[in-house]
């Protein structure tokens, strides 16, 4: 089905990096007449340049109930999904308020908008939960085997539940759910990028999770296409290939410190309370179980292949070279030095024996 691109697009969560980038990119596209950013908080000054062409309305979803219909929104992009509690703005309570209650209210409001044709929701591969009996690779049809421990993963399950309800009540709206792998790029700031940027990285002893990343630019491309084109359904968005956690730490030139799972949980909880760390149960579950998804459906439907996980991670490494200690260059230099040393010692020894023979 070929339809025209929506004329009026509402983007939620524009006070955050990814939401602002999505809105700016849509505003720059001539096919979209009007882009409205919806956020209960004012965008930080750093993002105001990005949001120059976007009308920003400072309101939460409940207040926007009437606004959505008045604006004549034809597409809604729901990006106001927080991955981790943000202590200055209220911690876990505010995160749940925004993720779960915010989605519920937004979808309730969207249900009453007559001209609505498209709904794009940011989700996460955390929707697959974490269990020891999980298959190695998740397809979109895999059901989580257990309710996950992490707060973000539980929120994601709730959000997807609301979207399922919305799809039932408004079958005429093309709803796209994008399950993103963790974002990465040279500049992106997420819990995981801050984790890998530390000079010494704590990991879980005896576990080496398989990780996948998606480059922020590719994620933006997919989001953009799902607004302008017609791609109803649920899609995994990730870079092909896998990096194991230890491998990623080594590639970034960091030093890993394996801690027992219990110790790591305790340390992370204490650090969170003190306000210096932000590793939660979501991250610990990821580091224990790993998470790999199948992106065949995405590539077939969108005709776009995100760059693979290793390439995306290389971009991150390039942007964060200053905290690394064991870089590939230094290791190569050490290898050469040791090899030369051994050769010199052996040559000297061989020379001595030859002298001994001739004498």
């Amino acid at each position: 089905m070929v339809t025209s691109p929506p004329r009026v697009v509402v983007v939620t969560g524009v006070s955050r990096f990814l939401g602002a980038r999505v809105a700016a990119r849509l505003a720059a596209d001539p096919r979209v007449e009007r882009v409205i950013g919806l956020d209960p908080r004012d965008p930080p000054p750093a993002l105001s340049g990005t949001l120059a062409d976007v009308e920003v309305i400072r309101a939460d979803a409940r207040a926007a109930t009437g606004a959505l219909a008045d604006l004549g929104a034809e597409a809604i992009v729901h990006m106001a999904v927080a991955g981790a509690p943000d202590s200055p703005s209220g911690g876990r309570q505010a995160m749940k308020e925004q993720n779960v209650i915010g989605t519920m209210q937004l979808l309730a409001a969207a249900q009453g908008v007559p001209g609505l044709r498209k709904l794009v929701v940011r989700s996460s591969t955390a929707a697959y939960g974490a269990s020891f009996r999980d298959p190695a690779v998740f397809t979109e049809d895999t059901e989580p085997r257990a309710v996950p421990r992490g707060s973000f993963a539980r929120d994601i399950l709730d959000i997807e539940g609301y979207v399922r309800g919305f799809r039932r009540r408004r079958p005429d709206v093309a709803a796209t759910v994008l399950r993103f792998a963790p974002f990465i790029s040279s500049t992106a700031e997420t819990t995981l990028t801050r984790y890998f940027a530390q000079p010494i990285v704590p990991t879980v002893f005896g576990r080496d999770a398989r990780l996948q990343f998606v480059h922020v630019d590719d994620a933006l491309e997919i989001l953009h296409r799902s607004v302008l084109e017609e791609h109803p359904g649920t899609f995994n968005v990730a870079g092909a290939g896998v990096l194991s956690l230890s491998q990623a730490v080594r590639r970034a030139g960091r030093i890993s410190v394996p801690l027992l799972e219990g110790t790591l949980s305790t340390v992370a909880a204490v650090a969170r309370n003190v306000g210096i760390g932000e590793i939660g149960l979501d991250q610990i579950d990821l580091f224990v179980h790993g998470r790999v998804v199948d992106t065949t459906r995405l590539v077939e439907e969108f005709g776009f292949t995100p760059r693979d996980t290793a390439t995306a991670f290389d971009d991150f490494i390039n942007g964060h070279a200053n905290g690394s200690s064991l870089t590939a260059d230094r290791l190569a230099a050490a290898e050469r030095a040791i090899l030369d040393g051994i050769r010199r010692v052996r040559a000297a020894a061989a020379g001595e024996t030859r002298e001994g023979l001739t004498r």
Partner: protein, 330 residues
């Protein structure tokens, strides 16, 4: 000199070359003149510089270490680390395979050279050493450098360290999505449908196949149209003969069984050394399933096929046991 070698040396054979001139021999401490005797105008090829084997080994070892430390190796979707498996795990296991168990392999030609196959074996030996030896056997004997991807119990993937060793050596959780994904990607998948019932059975039940679960492996093979290769492994039953199973202790530790063997737990860590039994591995002719793809959900077809595989393995076990009357023979 064998007949073959003798024939190859005769003039007129395609590979015939003139014999090399003899190396100069010192006569009374002096070199003979001429230094290099010229025979029929045949010039002696100048000897290439002697390759410094140790230098190569040191360089290769250092390069391996550097690649591991820099993380520049690749891991597949299931966590299989080919480089680590090939250069660390298999050389270690090969010592057990060749020198300790003196394994002999028959019928390797029944394992296809390309494309997927489901290798179904009997399970025994208290710990799953038979699965590891089977991977080494295929790697060692198969002409096409194939790796066996094992399907393991979720208990293995629950344990730290062990789970990662299993993933890195190519194993994954025994579930249909993983098995089907591996087979559609043309991999050799190894499965032991007896599971813990097989490896935890008493010594008196040795070489008696246990129940084959629900036949999930058969439906996975049917759905992907992958041939099933039954394999019989003789020798693993004698490595840790289970005399008794302490159920309460097993329940306390969360294990499926707690074995008492003649050496374990009496000798402590020494009891973990497997007894050096003689191993025989026989691959049976593959059972094609491509024509049964639409019957993957038919319980009768699945059950009958599982039974056929089970019967084949049991019959092959009996013939192999006749070939090996003494479990600890050379």
């Amino acid at each position: 000199m064998s007949q073959h070698e003798y024939r190859d040396m005769l003039p007129g054979h395609a590979d015939f070359t003139l014999p090399k001139p003899a190396a100069p021999v010192r006569l009374n401490g002096r070199r003979p003149i001429p230094e290099v005797p010229e025979m029929n105008g045949h010039q002696e090829a100048t000897a290439p510089d002697a390759v410094d084997v140790w230098d190569q080994r040191v360089a290769a070892g250092l390069a391996f270490l550097r690649r591991r430390l820099a993380g520049s190796y690749s891991v597949d979707d299931f966590g299989f680390d080919k480089e680590l498996t090939e250069s660390v795990f298999h050389p270690l296991l090969r010592v057990l395979y060749r020198d300790w168990f003196r394994t002999e392999v028959f019928g390797i030609e029944h394992v296809p050279g390309d494309g997927g196959a489901l290798i179904v074996g009997n399970h025994s030996g208290t710990v799953a050493l038979d699965a590891l030896m089977l991977t080494v056997a295929i790697r060692d004997q198969h002409p096409d450098d194939r790796f066996l991807r094992l399907l393991g119990a979720d208990l293995v993937f629950r344990m730290p360290i062990l789970s990662e060793l299993a993933r890195k050596s190519g194993a994954t959780v025994a579930c249909n999505p993983d098995a089907e994904r591996l087979m559609t990607h043309g991999q050799l998948v190894g499965v032991f449908p007896e599971g813990f019932k097989g490896i935890g059975k008493h010594f008196s039940d040795r070489y008696k196949l246990q129940r084959f679960g629900r036949g999930g492996f058969v439906s996975a093979a049917l759905r992907t149209g992958t041939p099933i290769v039954p394999v019989a492994i003789v020798g693993a039953e004698e490595i840790y003969p289970v005399l008794a199973d302490v159920k309460p202790l097993a329940r306390l530790l969360g294990l499926p069984y707690f074995p008492i063997t003649p050496t374990f737990p009496w000798l402590g860590p020494l009891g973990l050394v497997p007894l050096p039994s003689k191993w025989l591995i026989q691959f049976c002719p593959p059972i094609p399933t491509a024509h049964l793809t639409e019957h993957a959900d038919d319980p009768m077809v699945v059950y009958n096929l599982a039974d056929q595989v089970r019967e084949t393995i049991q019959a092959t076990l009996h013939t192999l046991l006749e070939q090996r009357p003494d479990p600890f023979a050379r």
